[in-house]
């Protein structure tokens, strides 16, 4: 007689099904790309190039950083491990984004939001032509990732005395140490590298449960989200300044995302939490870091930054706030097929209307991680068919006199 576990085994949906990848040849091509030797957190790394060899020996120490605070010390040159803003090609092939495509910028992933086209940027009169200054910070992670893991477990209420922290090293080719605390009530993952912020992620067993698709209305109010997230943030007791929150509600689930501020400036770091309709935490993630100020860097003017965008040194739109109705969505940007059958990118004209300085996490070739000022621009893109779209773009704001660009040898997958 078949027992319940035979029935369970027989119910495996994979039984009598086969899987074939849609484009295994593409996977094989990706596999041809060698694993990068240098530890890089993002697709591009920063290289800290010193004005002199002697200075190089001191800058990467706390003493060197302290020296930067002195007004008499020259600032070091920052060298981007990416295509130069002044030499990078325009977007003439399938989505490319100039120098910083994989940097984490508030607003989410760029890679999924790329728009194919040649962008022509211009600055409105509201943008400043006067250069300013902005701070650069070195970023270090938690000194006690294991303790952080337990603190998170306590704050999230998943402590199980029978469970120990599992430590793993160096997954995905990135030299990090992972701390995983998995109980029946949820899993906490903490990733701590030698440098940079310590990231953490929590997922409850219910995180994989879909929101109720039968609901046509949201069953969570923003007021509830505000209250729940405030309580959780308070219980986490991170020594981080948090900025504006973004709220998202879909059916019976909702999420809150806070920008992390450093010196009052928004960064690309965030703390995010997802809740179910009872206010239970479905998932959460964020970063814990210490920020050591390394000095003020001269910036280019806001208007000069727009020129950098035009020469390919910026980022493609990361958020799409459609101004011209549904017809202005990015999916409506249609490439033109010439008589020779070659696709040519459409020309998209962008008027930049506002700019603000933000700090972007970047890693140098020595492994150290820094917060570097960017200009985050908001503007209106006009497609060839006249439809418009509000978006944001970013470009490095540091004065080129303090930048040196080197080309990244290969794309980095992880």
């Amino acid at each position: 007689m078949t027992d319940e576990f035979d029935r369970l085994r027989a119910a495996n949906p994979a039984t009598n099904t086969t899987y074939a990848h849609g484009d295994l040849a593409a996977v094989a091509r990706r596999a041809e790309v060698p694993t990068p030797n240098a530890p890089t957190r993002f697709a591009q790394g920063f290289r800290l190039k010193m004005a002199s060899a002697a200075m190089a020996a001191t800058l990467l120490t706390s003493g060197g950083i302290a020296a930067l605070e002195s007004s008499s010390s020259p600032l070091p040159v920052l060298s981007l491990g990416a295509a130069s803003p002044s030499t990078a090609p325009k977007s003439e092939s399938l989505p490319t984004s100039g120098g910083l495509s994989d940097s984490k910028i508030p607003g989410g992933s760029q890679s999924s939001m790329r728009i194919w086209g040649t962008y022509e940027f211009s600055a409105s009169d509201r943008l400043s032509s006067s250069p300013d200054q902005a701070p650069v910070y070195r970023v270090s992670g938690s000194s006690d990732p294991s303790g952080l893991t337990i603190d998170l477990a306590k704050a999230l209420g998943i402590v199980d005395s029978a469970v120990a922290i599992k430590v793993t090293h160096g997954d995905f080719g990135i030299p990090t140490t992972g701390y995983e605390y998995a109980t029946d009530h949820g899993t906490i993952s903490v990733n701590a590298g030698r440098n940079g912020a310590t990231s953490w992620y929590f997922s409850s067993p219910a995180a994989g449960v879909s929101s109720d698709s039968s609901l046509n209305v949201n069953t969570i109010s923003k007021r509830e989200l505000v209250s729940w997230s405030k309580d959780l943030i308070d219980s986490l007791r991170f020594d981080l300044a948090l900025g504006d929150a973004t709220y998202s509600i879909y059916g019976d689930q909702g999420s809150v995302s806070y920008q992390v501020l450093v010196g009052g400036i928004a960064t690309d770091m965030s703390v995010s939490v997802g809740f179910d309709k009872q206010g239970s935490v479905l998932w959460a993630n964020g970063s814990v870091a210490r920020f050591d100020r390394a000095g003020n860097y001269p910036l280019i003017s806001e208007r000069d930054g727009v020129d950098n965008l035009s020469s390919g040194g910026g980022l493609v739109p990361m958020t799409d706030q459609v101004a011209g109705g549904a017809g202005a969505a990015s999916s409506d940007v249609i490439p033109v097929v010439g008589s020779d059958g070659v696709l040519t990118p459409p020309v998209i004209k962008v008027l930049i209307t506002s700019a603000k300085v933000q700090l972007s996490t970047q890693q140098m070739t020595d492994g150290s991680v820094w917060l570097i000022p960017l200009y985050s621009y908001t503007g209106t893109a006009t497609n060839e068919d006249g439809t418009t779209m509000e978006s944001t773009w970013s470009t490095i704001a540091v004065d080129p006199a303090y930048l040196k660009i080197s080309v990244s040898p290969s794309p980095i997958v992880y």
Binding site: E4, F5, R7, L8, R9, A11, N12, P13, A14, T18, Y19, H21, G22, D23, L24, V27, A28, R30, A31, E32, V33, T35, G107, G108, S109, S112, V163, A164, D171, F172, G173, E180, A182, D184, Y201, S203, P205, A207, G208, V209, S210, S211, D212, S213, N218, T246, S248, Y250, G251, S255, V256, S257, S270, S272, G274, W283, N285, T319, V413, Y414
Partner: protein, 167 residues
Amino acid sequence: MVPVPVDDFYDFAHTHMPTIANFARRRLYPLNPEELDDIVADVLIVAWRKRDVIPEGAEAPWLIGVTRKVLANARRKKYRRSAYIQSQRAEETHRSAEDRVLKDAAVEAALATLSLGDREILMLHYWDDLTIEQIGTTTGATVNAASVRLSRARKRFREAFAKFEES
């Protein structure tokens, strides 16, 4: 650059894709079904690059462990993105594969009463054919803890199954 022996990669991929796809397909939510290929591709590339360190005889838990992390990364990206995209609210939701495919009503009903933790460990054992040791490796638990969790999940499944089978 050292060229990849393509034939070897295809052999490697065809050997391991079923394990990766079967596991990832059931845990794809909130990703779209169309993203399964991306997940499988990412896992394959990690596995291919680390094939020299995959423990012999423990390929399945190793691959499932990587798949869990790749899925977690993909979900994390999606969650972060969703916080900024207003249209996310209207996004279609996708039921898990077992919800859509299971034909055995009693099994489906019994599974539905369990916590995701219980379902996870039962599926790892009965659907992914992992031993208790392999489940421990995959989930980061000790063999003893994995054994206890599986035992508890079996008990709860048996009770729920009996109730639904009876009715």
